[in-house]
Symmetry: none
Subunit: 223 residues, 2 copies
Amino acid sequence: MVDLYYIEDDPNIALAVKEYLEHKNFHVTICATLAKARQHIKDHVPACVLLDWNMPDGRGDDLCQWIRSHWKDLPVIFLTVRGNSTDIVSGFKSGADDYVVKPFELEVLYSRLLAVLRRTGNVADQYLSCDGIRIDQNLHAVFCNSEEVFLSTAEYQLLLYLMQHKGKTVTREKILEQVWDVNGSYVNNNTLTVTMKRLRDKLSQPACLKTIRSVGYRMEDTI
Amino acid sequence: MVDLYYIEDDPNIALAVKEYLEHKNFHVTICATLAKARQHIKDHVPACVLLDWNMPDGRGDDLCQWIRSHWKDLPVIFLTVRGNSTDIVSGFKSGADDYVVKPFELEVLYSRLLAVLRRTGNVADQYLSCDGIRIDQNLHAVFCNSEEVFLSTAEYQLLLYLMQHKGKTVTREKILEQVWDVNGSYVNNNTLTVTMKRLRDKLSQPACLKTIRSVGYRMEDTI
DNA sequence: ACAAAAATGACAAGTTGGTGACAGAATTTT
DNA sequence: AAAATTCTGTCACCAACTTGTCATTTTTGT
């Protein structure tokens, strides 16, 4: 499921768009203020941000610039009534990827959204984080307290799987199946334990990576 | 100088757009038929294609699909009078990156063009740099700490590709595809490794050029 | 205290990328 | 046109890293 944030203060429009896009198999979170949007994005970075210009607590282009400065690859599409050239140009100047003028046809929005997502090549969950550990899937890089850590393929896959299921306990069997057993080959059960140890060593024994005895492991925010 | 092809049969519009964009430091080639466009693209792939829908010898969306099937990363922007939702949706379906309805403001086209180029990484930058390494695409020259370095064609292409994707991990496959395999010819996987070694030697083993084991390479500023 | 589960250290086999050498192709010089 | 030079792809080999496994120790829950 692809995550979208829709920053919009008019609940009617917001809900109509949300409903339409959820039919198209997106997961849409509505943010009614810029402050809430910032909060949400910091918490979890979506695949794309849809952004209204006029918000009760500020201007959309400020948020767009803020997004651009922190997440270069996170696409932003303006959705706004402000349709004259000057507005459009300044929207793009603030770092937008597309600009759609209200009122718009939902299917046009959908087409433009797909085009933007195709172009940015973003996998769902491009940015994942837990405590001080961060993955940027486009960069294929892992950071631990802002220092880049170089993981082997198996370690990277394992960490990715755990972070994609942050907050949930994942069983050893499930992990083995997903990270190793993809095409039916058998691996020793201890392989997981060993790879986990190697991962923990490289991430300096993170507290957010817990062992759930006789079940599996769980990654979760502790701070 | 960034190359654009503008596929348009109306010489008045074509020349107006060409003149405006050349002021903005693009190099615009006008193609009055789809056949000519195909020819030109096969001959030299531009940074972006601007495309009219109705052409004397066929439909723009056919060309767009053809481009998309051969050059996945070459962006296409429709410029057309056909402005209803159905047209726009089918334009995007054929693989467009943006769709601008005539008549349009030239500066809006410019903004959208920049946004598309930024996203595809076919950056308009004539000068690319990373740490002490600089490329001047006009001069076709490379400098390492202000000393000119003479690269062979393959080395230059490789460096250019890496610098155009500065900050991203590019896979070995992607590099081979882009720098060598352009028209489907096979090259040994080790060719990349060897060319990379030669490049590194000439650039005195730059720290900004990292190997990401079992993925590819990444160029990024380290200072 | 006990048994089960997980962590750990060590190791051998397997990958992967870096390296020097070489020969044919392409380009430049004579 | 011939010779010299440079470029390019390939190969064999090496070093570094990765990975799965085992034997052993430590931790954990009861």
